[in-house]
Every structure is written in C-alpha cells, then in structure tokens.
C-alpha cells in the first residue's frame, strides 16, 4: 500500500462526526473616506510611504524622478511599460496593484502585473500603484475577491521587507526591497 493510501486509511479509521463549519464569514463594507484614512494610517505603521496622486501618469512621473539614473522597471498595464533587462538587478520597480486592504496596508499584486515573479522581491525599491476605488476594509473582504488564487502566483505586500532577528532591533530591508511606496490614485 502506498504512503498516500496508508495516510488516508489511518485518517478514515479515526474519522469523527463532522464538526460544523461557521456560517458565512463577514464581508464588511466601509465608506471610501474611512477606507482611505485607515489605509494611510496602516501605511505609517509599517514604514510604507504613501503618495496621493490624481492619475497613473502622475504616478509614473514621480517614479521616474525617484529612479533618476538608476535601473528601473515599469510593470505591465502602466504607461511607459518597459522590458526587463536583469530582473534581479533592478534598482527601482513600479507595479500595478489590484486592491489595497485598509486594516493592514496590504496590496494584492497579481502575477501578470509583475513582469517577472522575482521583481517585487529583488528590486531595491518598490512602488505599488493602487486606485482608492479599490480599497477594501479587511482580509475577509479581500478574500472574497475572485482575484485571489486566480493566477499561478499572487502576493499581498504590506511594507518594505524587514527583520528583527538580531536582538529584536527592527531593520528595514531584509531580503526584499529596502523601501516600499504606495501611490494611491484618487478620483476626486
């Protein structure tokens, strides 16, 4: 008998009565004003920069100014999308996020917006663009979105990479980007 079969048999042999799943989990909706405010507060806690801008063009302009003469990558779906030269040696990358979560400043990034799966982690500095119309209150609302697990890979990013493994001293910039900036596009 294969190990697979053995494991499944052992589980079946001790099967208990079915324990009940909770009823439907909440789906909270908050007014836009409150969402934006909470999102910005969450960013300040994780050391994420926030810039409220009025268009994608304005966002990529700001990004290009920051990148200066460093190597940069503008992700798919953004004006000025360029080709990646060397993904692991990118200094600045800007990618289009799908939505942001107000309670923890996490932004959902789908694979098709990354250019390469390694970009959001290998780039020295990361910029994520989110429209304020795409903010949700919390993770329950976030996981009701069809976008989650839709593609081969997707990630919530909630700040610059960090560690406190040396005597609990917080150091920003562990293995991922040294900084994260969120460009929040407003429509008002």
């Amino acid at each position: 008998m294969s190990s697979r079969q053995q494991i499944l048999e052992r589980i079946r042999a001790v099967r208990q009565n079915e324990q009940k799943l909770p009823d439907e989990l909440p789906k909270r909706m908050l007014p836009l004003e409150e969402l934006r405010e909470r999102f910005i507060v969450s960013c300040s806690i994780t050391g994420t920069g926030v810039h409220v801008l009025s268009s994608m063009e304005e966002a990529t302009f700001l990004f290009m100014q920051k990148a200066g003469s460093c190597s940069f990558y503008i992700g798919p779906g953004l004006p000025g999308n360029n080709s990646i030269e060397d993904p692991v040696r990118t200094d600045y990358a800007i990618l289009k996020g799908e939505f942001g979560v107000a309670e923890n400043n996490a932004v959902w990034l789908k694979e098709s917006s990354m250019g390469d799966r390694v970009i959001p982690f290998a780039s020295l500095h990361l910029y994520l663009l989110v429209s304020e119309d795409d903010l949700v209150a919390d993770m329950h609302e976030a996981y009701h979105k069809d976008l989650i697990f839709q593609e081969g890979f997707g990630v919530f990013i909630a700040g610059p990479s960090k560690t406190a493994d040396i005597e609990q001293s917080l150091v920003i910039g562990a293995h991922g980007p040294l900084s994260l900036d969120i460009l929040l596009i407003t429509n008002h």
Binding site: A13, V14, Q16, D116, V118, P120, D138, G152, H175
Partner: protein
C-alpha cells in the same frame, strides 16, 4: 539532561535571563494591543477553532480535494508517512536535479524531520535563509523559538559568529550592519540556487494552492529565483476554502508579533511555465495525534508561538532547555507524541497557569493537555521512579485524614526544632525560597478550638 537541568544552565546568566524574559513579555504585550484593537477578536478565535475542527473531522476528504486541484495546477504531489520518507523524497528530487547546495526558508516540519542533517550525510548543503535561522545555523545550534529562532542570542553573539563565518568587522555589533552583511551573502545564495525549499503556512483544498508568510521576503527570493520549488507541509495545514484565510491571516501575526499581517503573504498555485513545483505532504505521527480524543486538537496549531511568549516557564528557561524541535507549551504537548521517553519531562515544565490556552488563536486547551500528558506518561511508566513514589506517598497522605494530621504535626515540629533539616541546599524546594515559620497549630486545630466558643 532534563528540562530543569538545562534551564538551570540558562538562568546562570541572570542578566540574559532577565532580558529574555522581558523581551518575550514585550512581544506578548504587542499581541495584546493588536488583539484589543479588533472588537471581533474572540469571534475570530472561535471561527478559527471551528474551521480547524471541521477540517480535521474531514481531513481525508480535503486532502484528496487538495491533491486533485494541486495536480491539475501542475504541481507534483508526494506523500510521506514519516520523516525518513520525507527526507528520501527530497533527496531524490535533489539528485534528479544534480543539486548540491540549496536555499531553504523557515519550515518547522523540515526541522522536525531533521532534513538538513540527513542531506549533509549525502553531501548536499542546505542554506537557511531566514536571518534568525541563518544565525543559529552558522553557530551550529537549533532554533530556540519557532518565530524568533535566535531570541536566545545577543547582538554580540551574532557579531562574533558573523566575524568568524562571514568576514564581518570584529566588534561591529550594529544590527543594521549585520543584517546588510547577511543580505549580501544570502543574495548570492539565492541567485545560485537551482532548488528552493519552503514550508507551508496554509494549504487551500478548493484551489490546490499554498500560502507562505514571511517578513524578510526570503521564501519568495528563493522560490522565484530557483528552477525547482519544494514545499513541505504536515497534513494538518489544510483549510477548505480561500475565504477561511481571512480569519487565519488576521489572527496569525497579531498573535505572533502584534503585526496586522506579515510583509509578504504569498499565494503559490502553479509553477512558473518551464519550472517545477513539488509538494511533500507528511504524516509523521499526526494521524496518531488525530486518533486521540485528548490530544487531537493540538493539530489545530498554526505555529504563531503566542504560547511561548506568554509562558512564565519558557520566558525564564529559554527554548533550548526543552530539547525539542518545537519548544514552549505547544511543543510540550506535541513532542511526547513523537518520543514519549525523550520528552516525558516537558509536560511537567509548566505551572499549569493556563495563559497559553488564553492567548491561543485557535483555542487549543494547551494547559489541559499538559495535565493529561502528565497522567498518560506516568501511567505508561515514563516518569522517574522518585516522582512516582512521591506521588503515591502524597496520594496516600491526602487520602487519609489521620496520616495527613500526623504528617502535618511532624512537619511543623521538624521546622521548629531542626530547621536545618529543611533549610539546607540539598532540599530543592529551599534553593530559591525562604521556608515559612512553622505555625503553632494547623488550621484544623484552630478551627476546632474556635468552633467551641
């Protein structure tokens, strides 16, 4: 050496013990602050507990659903009934890919199976990439905490080992300098590694995908630079639906460090075209735990370590004193299942204060299980004879009124007449305590006297 003897070594350094104790308590306080910000916190714990209980009650169904979906996603699924088979499966994948050196992010399961040591015997080197794990790996010691692997160390210790192994400037103890140095050295490893091994925080049956949570980004740097990704998971990591993640992601880091979410919450569903993704599903004693009414619910654990940080014994004895892959209160109820003889002392390394159960995000009755393990291990004869004998004597005395009264009298008389018989360094109870003055009479005697008035 048992837990108490190892703990004695740890507390010999009083300053370090105080720092360890206070630092972990500070993390516990951050957990409290994060939890109190959510009015629905207790509701979340109930949901998490119910979702896990449901999943465990239909684990076979969800494992099959998960496997079906994972295979459809192009993932290669392996099953291992124990640690040895888990290690052999991984060894074979590595050999098929001619891999001699690889990167691994944090996985308590691979620690449990002693994967690194096994691969070393066949000439394959594993580089741990979580900073804390890398530090303890360079020091050739195991992690002392499942979330904060190097919490037993001070920056001087890190500086010393980095000077020796990574060429750091001697005496430079700046955490930022040391972190950057590790980043540089590990980035080379990420770029060179053909294979990356990771753990799994959650596996979702309905999508056949897995979720990995890190703050450092080391798992994703490894996986996305490598050609082959091997993810290792225990059978208990399953959740039925992706919407259940909302509950667990909200609970996990708030319980662990007080953060609302880890920096990266990565959802891997399919390998990148042209690359390989393997999933190793491991039992290694979990089905035995599942069969036990008393200990089944320990399988709900999501490895947040909130119980470590709150535990008065863990905070003051350090993770290494447990001599187990998972230390702390949860480790003390998981470990005896793997090796009752070796870990028989762990359920006794507790005051049974119940704080662990109170902070557990999935509501495992940890302190009740500690107490039940004490009984089980004693019945099975794993406890020391001296302890069993003492318990028998105590049971007799507490069960017989006359014997109890006489023992009390002898105790009070001895304490008055020959205090040095009790107040001496051979009496373990006297070592860190002052003995009380003997009362003139017992409560019973006092009560009898006053009742007559």
């Amino acid at each position: 050496m048992n837990h108490a003897e190892k703990a004695e070594r740890f507390i010999a350094d009083k300053q370090r013990t105080a720092w360890h104790d206070e630092t972990l308590w500070f993390i516990r306080s951050k957990r409290d602050t994060a939890a109190q910000k959510l009015p629905e916190w207790e509701q979340l714990r109930n949901w998490a507990s119910d979702i896990k209980a449901h999943t465990l009650s239909r684990l076979d169904v969800y494992l099959e659903e998960f496997e079906r979906n994972a295979i459809a996603n192009g993932i290669i699924v392996h099953w291992a009934k124990d640690g040895e088979e888990h290690n052999q499966i991984i060894e074979k994948i590595l050999k098929d890919n001619q891999c001699k050196r690889l990167v691994k992010s944090k996985s308590m399961l691979t620690e449990e199976c002693h994967l690194n040591a096994h691969l070393k015997t066949v000439g394959i080197e594993v580089i741990d990439t979580d900073l804390g794990e890398r530090i303890v790996q360079l020091r050739d010691e195991p992690p002392s905490h499942i979330v904060l692997p190097a919490i037993h160390l001070k920056k001087k210790d890190v500086s010393d080992v980095f000077t020796e192994k990574l060429g750091a400037t001697p005496g430079n103890e700046d955490p930022e300098y040391l972190t950057r140095l590790a980043r540089k050295s590990l980035r080379e490893e990420f770029l060179q590694s053909e294979v990356a091994i990771t753990g799994v925080n959650f596996a979702i049956a309905e999508t056949g995908g897995i979720v990995i949570c890190t703050n450092e980004g080391n798992a994703d740097m490894g996986v996305n630079n490598a050609r082959v990704h091997i993810a290792c998971m225990g059978i208990e990591k399953l959740l039925p639906k992706k919407e259940h993640l909302g509950v667990f992601i909200r609970l996990l880091t708030r319980s662990a460090t007080g953060q609302p979410i880890t920096i990266y919450t990565s959802h891997y569903r399919k390998p990148k075209p042209g690359k390989e993704m393997h999933l190793v599903i491991v039992d290694n004693g979990r089905t035995r735990q599942l069969a036990s009414d008393d200990f089944r619910s320990s399988l709900k654990c999501i490895r947040c370590a909130a119980c470590f940080n709150t535990c008065p014994v863990y905070r003051r004895s350090g993770g290494h004193s447990y001599d187990a892959v998972v230390a702390g209160p949860i480790g003390s109820i998981l470990s005896p299942n793997y090796d009752p003889k070796k870990h028989a002392d762990l359920p006794f390394a507790s005051t049974l204060c119940g704080s662990c159960s109170n902070v557990c995000p999935v509501k495992i009755d940890i302190h009740d299980q500690l107490w039940k393990w004490r009984q089980t291990l004693t019945q099975q004869g794993y406890t020391p004879a001296s302890k069993t004998l003492m318990m028998r004597v105590m049971a007799f005395m507490l069960g017989h009124r006359g014997a109890y009264a006489i023992a009390g009298k002898i105790g009070r008389w001895t304490l008055r007449q020959f205090p040095q018989l009790i107040r001496n360094r051979w009496n373990p109870w006297y070592r860190q305590r002052e003995m009380p003055d003997a009362p003139k009479e017992s409560f019973q005697e006092w009560f009898k006297k006053h009742q007559k008035i």
